[in-house]
């Protein structure tokens, strides 16, 4: 609900170009409601951080933005999630094409059990986006884009599981980028990585915008602060407050936001 939005909200931004948006979205599993009445806009080319305590529904919300929850038993969603103004859950939407436009990288690196090169172009092949002869060049371009090429140019035929965790995550990013998405969903992409790899991923995300829009779930408030343009704070299934990141961190309007961003474990202050 709009009255749930804190004062520095992103409503003014809605007049600009929003690549994705959620309108009055409620979602849950069976009888459980995970999120209620979420309305939020994601301006094109921006980096948006979804923050909030564990269990606040951030990841479920993120996954519904490329319909990854579709097959989860009992999942339901009301309201509209839009990409370029089209409702994602409309009957005219092919989830496979949607997922090409809205890519996703997960918390733990999940390279496929195939060579590094095949990993990068897996999506390109699936969507028949290039000729066979072009695949190697595509792999090189994408690996260079994520900063891996110089390290692994002679290991394209190797197993990806021999790369370090950070390199594996960069490989997954290269794989997601290879299908040229408009939006990239990142679900705590650096939570299993060491500081240096985290830096590499963050630096890449910065470089990818504004051509790409990034929506990132993170538990790392410092990361949200240094990386994102907008921060969206979820708490107990509600959107508590949202706004430009500096504003939200420096002058949070709601008590819950102040407490959470201030590092309180229990936001309500009950105990």
């Amino acid at each position: 609900m709009s009255d749930r939005l804190g004062e520095p909200s992103n409503t003014p931004l809605s007049s600009t170009d929003n690549v994705m948006s959620a309108r009055d979205v409620s979602l849950g599993f069976g009888a459980t409601t995970v999120m209620q009445d979420i309305t939020v806009n994601f301006p094109r080319g921006s980096i948006n951080a979804l923050v909030g305590p564990s269990g606040s529904g951030k990841t479920t919300f993120l996954r519904s933005m490329n319909r990854l929850n579709d097959k989860v038993p009992g999942f339901w969603l009301r309201g509209e999630v839009c990409l370029d103004g089209h409702d994602l859950n409309g009957s005219d939407v092919d989830p496979l094409i949607l997922r090409r436009k809205v890519g996703m990288v997960f918390q733990r690196p999940n390279p496929f059990p195939m060579s590094i090169m095949d990993n990068v172009v897996a999506g390109v092949r699936a969507h028949k986006m290039a000729k066979r002869s072009e695949l190697r060049d595509i792999a090189e371009t994408r690996l260079a884009e994520v900063g891996l090429w110089s390290h692994i140019s002679d290991r394209l035929d190797d197993s990806p599981f021999r790369l370090s965790g950070g390199q594996q995550q960069l490989l997954c990013l290269a794989r997601a980028l290879a299908v040229e998405p408009e939006v990239l969903l990142l679900d705590e992409p650096t939570s299993s990585l060491d500081p240096r790899s985290t830096e590499a991923v963050e630096e890449l995300v910065r470089r990818l915008t504004p051509e790409l829009t990034v929506i990132i779930v993170t538990h790392n408030l410092d990361q949200a602060r240094r990386l994102s343009d907008n921060t969206i704070f979820f708490y107990e299934g509600q959107l508590m407050e949202t706004g430009p990141t500096p504003q939200l961190f420096d002058a949070p309007q709601r008590l819950e936001t102040q407490r959470y961003l201030g590092g309180a474990v229990t936001v309500n202050g009950d105990n």
Binding site: N110, M114, A126
Partner: protein, 331 residues
């Protein structure tokens, strides 16, 4: 407990004796038990291999590969070809049905009563004694459909016998493929069949193959259902599916060992030996296929450094299994 001052830290941990005598004894006891258990498993294998080999080699004649059996002697050519045909046919028939139903159960089956019944039926099937399969096959196919002792009823009965193993191992192998692979493929816009083909099937292959080989090994060694359905013949199978009995190795062992003719008794030993060799061959074949298909899996060898692997390869030049072969089978 405070560390006594003035004495060294280590000495406070056990004086001068180090590990106590009681613990040494306990360790020794458990180690002995483990070694004994291992010996109890390994010894019969060695004993069977050695005695079968010795028995066969005592009167070995290469003519078993060139001559057909005559009932009181001759060779084993017709039974070798027969066993090959039966095993190959069962592999194809049961392979399709078993892998198919395993994929269905793991990937597509709705979680409802229907799948539960199907799973239950599969498990029940694997519990039915093989001689009952043989008897039912005899009644329904050999007599009922007037097929006579022949290849078709034998293949059908053998396949029914081993389909549950293949289906179960396929299902388990697919279930063990990390969810992260499927999610990654889904998030990339893969279709369900493509995910299965390109992502899920490869890591599941060792498990599926293990089930297949187990099934083939069982069908190579089956005797009872074949007595009821294949009959026996002293000539090489022509490939006819019905109205033509077919010979097989287990029959040679089962029947020839107490013939009053030494030549026939030797054939029984040779047939046993060949059965063991075929089964071992099947196991080696799985290992080979597993190694060739698991190049990109996160197996044990990925924890070694590249240099270590190269050195090991250079030294052992192939004699040291490179790890993929030890990938845990799904079953």
């Amino acid at each position: 407990m405070a560390i006594p001052t003035g004495t060294s830290f280590l000495s406070s941990l056990g004086g001068t004796a180090g590990i106590s005598r009681a613990r040494r004894m306990k360790n020794l006891l458990w180690w002995s038990a483990c070694v004994l258990a291992l010996a109890l498993v390994v010894a019969p294998v060695v004993w069977i291999l050695v005695s079968i080999t010795a028995k066969a080699m005592a009167n070995w004649q290469w003519t078993i590969f060139t001559q057909n059996s005559t009932g009181i002697g001759g060779g084993l050519l017709n039974t070798i070809v027969g066993t090959m045909v039966l095993t190959f046919g069962t592999g194809i028939l049961a392979g399709f049905v078993g892998v198919g139903s395993g994929i269905f159960l793991a990937e597509f089956a709705p979680k409802n009563r229907f799948s539960a019944i199907m799973r239950g039926a599969c498990e029940t099937l694997s519990g039915i004694p093989s001689i009952v399969f043989g008897y039912c096959g005899y009644l329904a196919l050999v007599v009922g459909l007037h097929w006579g002792y022949s290849l078709a009823p034998a293949l059908i009965v053998l396949s029914l016998l081993v389909v549950p193993y293949i289906a179960k191992s396929t299902e388990i192998a697919l279930q063990q493929v990390p969810v992260a692979y499927r999610e990654g493929a889904e998030a990339l816009g893969f279709t369900m069949p493509r995910t299965l083909r390109k992502i899920v099937l490869r890591p599941a292959l060792p498990g599926i193959l293990t089930g297949m080989i187990l099934a083939l090994a069982i069908s190579v060694g089956e005797t009872a259902p074949l007595l009821f359905t294949a009959g026996f013949s002293n000539s090489i199978p022509t490939g006819a599916l019905v109205h033509e009995p077919i010979g097989y190795l287990t029959y040679a062992t089962y029947t020839f060992y107490d013939e009053p003719v030494p030549a026939a008794q030797h054939l029984a030993a040779d047939a046993s030996f060949l059965l063991v060799v075929i089964v071992l061959g099947l196991i080696l074949l799985t290992r080979l296929i597993v190694r060739l298909t698991q190049r990109y899996s996160p197996t044990r060898r990925d924890r070694q450094t590249r240099a270590m692997r190269r050195a090991a390869a250079a030294v052992a030049s192939g004699t040291v299994a490179a790890g993929a072969g030890t990938a845990t089978p799904g079953a």
